[in-house]
């Protein structure tokens, strides 16, 4: 925890200075979007992102922006990895097709170190462009913003979605009197949403009843990034990490094979026994479907996917029967794995200012609220605090989770690190090797990949 706080102090000092300067300028004269956008009237800006509800919401909002500014926004929607590949190809060909992009923050290091994206400092200080009402250093979850959109203490964008994972559980099952009775008789304490991992496993065991087509939990065990995302929750919570570094953009010793990490990984696999038989074939899609079908009692899942399970009756059989809470507590405390998609402006963009104006406008409370209510995940606490959002059954858990979100590497090699871990974790789940072997191997490869800045803290004998 010491490491965390020291980083925080550094960031907040930097922020404080910028904030004051913004405030000074903001009071100078009245700013309006129409005026600021006047020079760019008639321009068309193009962006790309993952085909998900928040992006669809954005495409519904864009005409409004066009009406006010005369700037047309074209939105390209692709599948997750397609969106990433398309951007990589475009940035490296330097064609400048996209005026701004929406990308997972993990990619940031690649973009920044190769000079593909524009720092936003100039825009934030520009009197013409900067909306004085827009105060990211006050209005956003600071930790999430730093995690998602900053690199090497420079700001490159704002969160498009600030995602975290938390615990989903069936409140109807956990609240059932008969279940409570039986559970207490067996485990000696009251059945309630899990507070720690032992309880989590007990509950999983208790509800695993294949004959009733009910399982305690479900792992996203397919060889897919989803596996890594889910595992990170366990890793962090058990007090482990991948690199010993202060921020995502920093390199540091490899600690992915620490005793904590091994314990987390072994615990993670132990849940396989309480998961449906096909659990090694699941990624986010399948666990969603299982939850919607009411086959699973509890699992760790994304906050932005909650809507389709907890609210959408056309897709879910468990509307009204769901409860949400932060990831159970472990040795490392209560920590959630945070992920986000971020707005970025490529250096090859031909309409950077117009793009900035649009992004800034999208970050407004009104737009954020509408996006959030359509299945997004805002980075603005004030949006979470609104009545409409509070009505959603999962808002509390989401907010709590956002508060404890933890960064992860955004180095240029981050996707390769992910790839190594996905492969090795999947090997472990498939009984090809032990947890230690898998993590040792990962550590070796990651250390070799990152070079001298990343020695192995737990060398393999």
């Amino acid at each position: 925890m010491l490491r965390q706080s020291s980083k925080f102090s550094l960031l907040s000092t930097a922020l404080l200075t910028t904030a004051t300067s913004f405030a000074l300028m903001g009071s100078a004269y009245a700013w309006s979007l129409e005026e600021a956008a006047a020079p760019y009237k008639g321009v068309t800006i193009r962006t790309i992102g993952e085909a998900l509800p928040p992006l669809e919401a954005m495409s519904k909002l864009a005409p409004e922006f066009e009406q006010r500014t005369g700037i047309k926004v074209e939105i390209e929607m692709y599948e997750h990895s397609e969106a990433v590949s398309k951007v990589m190809l475009d940035l490296n060909s330097k064609r400048g097709r996209y005026d701004f992009i929406i990308q997972p923050h993990r990619e940031l290091g690649k973009f920044v170190t190769n000079g593909h994206v524009q720092p936003l400092g100039d825009f934030l200080q520009s009197a013409e462009l900067r909306d004085p009402e827009f105060k990211p250093d006050e209005q956003l979850y600071q930790r999430l913003w730093k995690e998602i959109s900053w690199y090497n203490d420079q700001v490159y964008g704002f969160p498009f979605t600030a995602l975290s994972m938390y615990m989903w559980y069936r409140s109807d099952l956990l609240g059932d009197e008969k279940e409570k009775e039986g559970f207490k008789a067996k485990y000696g304490y009251d059945l309630a949403p899990a507070k720690n991992w032992d309880q989590y496993r007990d509950i999983a065991e208790w509800f695993t009843r294949p004959d009733q087509n009910l399982y305690g939990t479900a792992l996203q065990g397919k060889r897919h990034e989803a596996l890594w995302y889910e595992w990170l929750n366990f890793l962090y919570s058990f007090g482990g990490d991948m690199l010993e570094a202060k921020s995502g953009s920093e390199c540091g010793p490899v600690i992915v094979n620490s005793p904590q990490a091994i314990a987390a990984t072994e615990y993670y696999k132990s849940l396989k026994a309480f998961s449906p038989p096909d659990t090694l074939n699941y990624f986010w899609d399948d666990v969603m479907a299982l939850m919607q079908q009411g086959t699973v009692a509890q699992l760790i899942m994304w906050n932005d996917a909650t809507y389709a399970v907890a609210v959408d009756e056309s897709a879910s059989t468990v509307v009204g029967k769901m409860g949400f809470d932060t990831v159970p507590e472990g040795e490392g405390g209560t920590i959630a794995q945070a992920e986000g998609w971020t707005y970025l402006i490529p250096t090859s963009s031909k309409n950077k200012e117009a793009a900035y104006l649009f992004i800034q406008w999208m970050m407004d409370y009104d737009q954020q609220l509408r996006q959030h209510l359509n299945g997004g995940a805002t980075a603005r606490p004030d949006v979470y605090a609104s009545d409409e959002v509070q009505k959603l059954p999962y808002s509390k858990a989401s907010m709590a989770s956002n508060e404890v979100a933890k960064p992860k590497p955004t180095l240029p090699q981050s996707s390769e690190i992910t790839d190594i871990l996905v492969r090795e974790l999947s090997s472990y789940l498939a009984d090809e090797k032990s947890a230690k072997e898998a993590l040792d191997r990962s550590a070796e490869e990651i250390s070799a990949l990152l070079g001298s800045c990343a020695p192995m803290k737990y060398p393999v004998q």
Partner: protein, 308 residues
């Protein structure tokens, strides 16, 4: 017979001058848009180019990548041998099954058009769609095929295909067999239909029973067709990507990490393009050598296309 005797008009009909404009566009297209990128790839293979790592801007490093690949990349070689085993298993099963079905149709069915058209369906579907269909069918909880496998007791209730490492490759092979056996059937069937009758009658008269006619007459006569089918299927199976990627992503662990999936990760996940090009080059080289040996040895000698 000498070549001139077999082809008395060859030179008269199209001399070099008049054939050039006919063949030029194709050659140019291939040279520019295939040899071009291929040359680029070959060059890239000798650089350290990476889209991810800012320190690797594409410096020329000679054969370092090749050395790394040959000596120090167990995952590549694991994928390589897995792919070889996959190709052998899938193509052999497809061949035997496809041949048997072709014989059945040839022997018993007179009106084949509708039947053969319907058989074409699986191979005409987009690979992306095939992968998704089978992912849906074999999903452990709501997959239709899984349900019946469980019902029939062919699969333990407590397991599912893609979560059981030992079943993953057999399932992938089975799906490949599902998709491509009809292709083998149709081509072999076309071969059977075009077989002359008289050698079989001669063999009947000579006293050969059905089995000896099959081994002594039919198989040798179908040799060019068989070679063709094996060649085409072999190449395609070697390139298999979409289905497996969508269904398993190469896992669990590395049990289904075929070469193309490995190549995908190097290129599109790690953006390690220099090394990716090296992998591509090696794969191309292996396939090329196998094919030319096969092609020269078996196919070309027996099926003298166009050389009449």
């Amino acid at each position: 017979m000498s070549k001139t005797a077999a082809n008395p008009h060859g030179r008269f009909l199209l001399d070099h001058g008049s054939s050039l404009p006919l063949i030029l566009p194709a050659t140019l297209l291939v040279l520019v848009f295939l040899v071009g990128p291929f040359g680029y790839m070959t060059y890239t293979a000798m650089t350290d180019l990476s889209f991810a790592n800012p320190d690797q801007k594409g410096a020329f490093i000679g054969f370092d990548n090749f050395r790394q690949l040959m000596r120090n990349d167990p995952i590549f070689w694991g994928s390589f041998w897995l792919t070889v085993r996959f190709v052998l298993a899938a193509v052999c099963i497809e061949f035997v099954l496809g041949f048997a079905i072709a014989l059945l149709i040839w022997h018993f069915i007179k009106r084949q058009r509708l039947l053969t058209t319907l058989l074409l369906v699986p191979m005409m579907l987009a690979p992306v769609a095939v992968g998704l269909i089978w992912r849906l069918l074999l999903q452990g909880d709501f997959g239709m095929v899984t349900y019946y496998l469980h019902k029939l007791g062919l699969l333990s209730k407590a397991s599912a295909i893609f979560s059981t490492p030992s079943l993953v490759m057999p399932a992938i092979i089975a799906i490949d067999v599902w998709q491509w056996t009809p292709f083998v059937t149709l081509i072999i069937l076309a071969g059977l239909m075009s077989l002359p009758k008289s050698p079989f009658e001669a063999a009947t008269i000579d006293g050969a029973g059905p089995w000896r006619q099959f081994t002594d007459i039919m198989l040798p006569l179908l040799r060019p067709i068989i070679a063709l089918v094996l060649l085409l299927r072999g190449i395609d199976a070697f390139k298999e990507f979409d289905k497996v990627f969508i269904m398993t992503g190469g896992g669990p662990g590395t049990v289904s990490e075929l070469l193309s999936i490995y190549a995908y990760r190097v290129n599109f996940k790690n953006w390690n393009l220099g090394y990716g090009a090296t992998v591509a080059f090696m794969v191309y080289l292996v396939v090329l050598i196998l094919c030319s040996v096969f092609y020269k040895a078996v196919y070309w000698k027996s099926a003298n296309i166009g050389g009449r």
